[in-house]
């Protein structure tokens, strides 16, 4: 290969810009000073303690987990059925219907949030974490549909026919053959929609009606300089959890692919 020193420098700078700021999180989270600035003064874990003791944070975390787990489950289920239907069956107006399902991918979230807010208020539906779930579903389902569509497309149709041919009903064929084979896609979908939902801010802010939700709560805390270090501590924990979660998901994804002898077409790690 020919050497391209310019590209190498670019790649290093790019990665530094991407991950450098994240490394700053733990740095200041353990720094014994309320102001986020160099030089570092001393090691402390008191910000973690402060964060841990904050009851509002726990409430926000609980709400966020309810929202994100519900959204990940629901959008993956919806995506599964929509993708299956679009890959396997023919029905009238399929192209425009699928197009409208996918549209929120390119629609500004601000527009989704505002229009939903207006409609919900007009219908007299009180804002709660359920309305946030509703909004997140609109945003997350297209991602799930896209992931599940590629999972179904790589499925040989004669596998289904073989199961039918061997005496299974369409329902048991789905359970015994199709579902296990698209499981890596389901895992990917669940993980990605969970991630999108948990750090989503605009919809959570518009439709959350002041309920503590993690992203909104963190944003709010940043207004108080004294709270910043404990938010950095929270950030450090979240980064750690994300890495663990991704590693676990990747492990299962690779194991699933190895089990069916498939070719690894790239995951997250």
């Amino acid at each position: 290969m020919t050497k391209a020193p310019g590209l190498k420098t670019y790649a290093i700078l790019y990665l530094a810009f991407l991950y450098g700021p994240i490394l700053v999180l733990p740095l200041f989270a353990f720094n014994d000073k309320a102001v986020v600035s160099f030089p570092l003064s001393g090691f402390t874990t008191k910000w973690f303690g402060e964060m841990w003791a904050d009851p509002n944070l726990w409430k926000a975390l609980k709400n966020s987990l309810i929202i994100s787990l519900s959204v990940a489950t629901l959008s993956t289920v919806l995506g599964l059925f929509a993708a299956r239907s679009s890959v396997r069956y023919q029905w009238p107006f399929k192209a425009p219907v699928m197009g409208f399902i996918m549209l929120p991918l390119v629609l500004p979230e601000m527009i989704i949030a505002m229009s939903l807010l207006i409609v919900l208020m007009a219908l007299g539906i009180p804002l709660s974490i359920f309305t946030v779930i509703l909004g997140h579903l609109l945003i997350c389902t297209p991602f799930s549909v896209a992931l599940m569509t590629s999972a179904f497309q790589s499925l040989d149709r004669s596998l289904e026919e073989a199961a039918l041919d061997l005496g299974e009903t369409p329902a048991s064929t789905f359970r015994l053959i199709i579902l296990p084979l698209v499981m890596p896609g389901i895992l990917s979908s669940f993980l990605i929609t969970f991630t999108i939902s948990i750090d989503e801010f605009i919809v959570a802010n518009f439709l959350g009606s002041g309920q503590p939700i993690l992203s909104v709560y963190i944003f709010g805390q940043f207004r108080f300089p004294a709270k910043v270090p404990s938010m950095l501590a929270l950030g450090t924990i979240l980064v750690g959890l994300s890495i663990c979660l991704l590693a676990i998901a990747e492990y299962f994804r690779r194991r699933g692919i190895a089990r069916i002898g498939g070719k690894d077409s790239g995951g997250f790690l």
Partner: protein, 366 residues
């Protein structure tokens, strides 16, 4: 053939099938007998796979009926039909072991676990995969996958086994080996086999009877020898094997037979059974298979009719040599092949030779 082999297993009654505007099956009629090795042969897009899938129940039909063992299948879904299929891609379930694949069809079988395991082992033994049960399905070679697919289908003891181009993914040696294995297996289990193939040689080798299909219709349904020696149309003759078509002029008709003047070969009287039934073959011509022509080497004579010729092309195959020869001073070329027996030379291009041929091997296309 025993008496029960003469019974009808499958009957097609005027089957019509459309894909949108495309007329895929255009009035299929015919019967497949119990216990025979039957082939659906034709070029791609002729409807042979569609017809096979209508038997399996994967494709609906627009009119007509498929009867299996005397029962109309129109309201019977694929999972309730007494047929099993070996798919072109084999469709081995990749997340299961070989044994789990083979046992898949026994899920609703009330037999005990041990009995089922014995049945799986027996089925694997039948296809030469004894002891492979514990292997992961995705770790198998193409030939082994096909054997697993066969075992998985045969374990249910179907009335009819459907094979959708099962050999097309294998290399030549493996394919020829599996052809023989399949014939043996079919004789052993006695189940009706229906094979879809575009390979005329494969169909001739394996089948008891063959339906040649073109454009959604069965052009001819006959045993291999009849198809080869007495094709009923120019198209069938052209599709199966090599056929020399030599233009001729029809002089007179007599009780179904014809007196014809063949370009380069001269006048011949053909009996009624030498006349292809299809009357729309275009300009009249006779067909002559390469092996019905013999090249007379120096010093050889023949009691059959002879025609002088000039060698235009020589293709050496090792055991055989194929010659293209202009006959009777015309620009009509015929292809013939001669075995390279010891002491027989390979003739050169441009050599003047004599060919012998027999009028009884001719087929007339009107």
């Amino acid at each position: 053939m025993s008496a029960d082999k003469r019974q009808t297993m499958i009957e097609f009654r005027d089957i019509q099938k459309y894909y949108g505007d495309y007329h895929a099956l255009r009035g299929i009629n015919g019967t497949i007998r119990a216990g025979e090795f039957f082939s659906l042969l034709g070029p791609s897009g002729c409807g042979k796979t569609t017809l096979l899938r209508t038997i399996a129940g994967f494709e609906g039909i627009d009119s007509g009926a498929v009867l299996i063992d005397g029962k109309d299948m129109s309201s019977v879904p694929a999972n309730m039909r007494p047929t099993n299929m070996v798919f072109q891609s084999y469709a081995i379930f990749p997340h299961m072991s070989v044994a789990e694949n083979v046992a898949f069809g026994l899920r609703r079988d009330p037999r005990s676990k041990a009995e089922k395991a014995a049945a799986v082992e027996e089925a694997l033994g039948m296809v030469g995969l004894k002891g492979y049960g514990g292997r992961a399905a995705h770790a198998l070679s193409g030939g082994q996958r096909q054997r697993v697919a066969l075992a998985r289908a045969l374990i249910l003891k179907p009335k009819v086994l459907l094979l959708d181009e099962p050999l097309s993914a294998l290399d030549k040696k493996m394919r020829e080996h599996m052809q023989v294995e399949l014939i043996k297996l079919q004789r052993q289990v006695g189940i009706t086999f229906i094979l879809v193939t575009h390979d005329q040689e494969e169909a001739l080798v394996m089948s008891d009877r063959i339906a040649v299909m073109f454009e959604g219709q069965i052009a001819q349904l006959a045993d291999p020898e009849t198809l080869y020696r007495r094709p009923n149309s120019r198209k069938v003759a052209d599709f199966i094997g090599t056929m020399n078509f030599i233009p001729c002029e029809i002089l007179s008709e007599n009780a179904g037979g014809y007196e014809v003047d063949i370009k380069g070969l001269g006048r011949v009287t053909l009996s009624a059974d030498q006349v292809a039934s299809d009357e729309n073959s275009g300009t009249p011509a006779v067909g002559l298979r390469p092996e019905a022509l013999t090249l007379l080497f120096p010093g050889q004579t023949s009691d059959e009719r002879k025609v002088p010729g000039k060698i235009d092309e020589v293709i050496y195959f090792g055991d055989m040599t194929s010659y293209d020869v202009f006959i009777g001073g015309t620009d009509i070329e015929v292809r013939l092949s001669m075995r390279n027996v010891p002491g027989r030379p390979v003739m050169d291009v441009g050599t003047g030779v004599e060919l012998s041929w027999s009028p009884s091997a001719l087929v007339l296309f009107r």
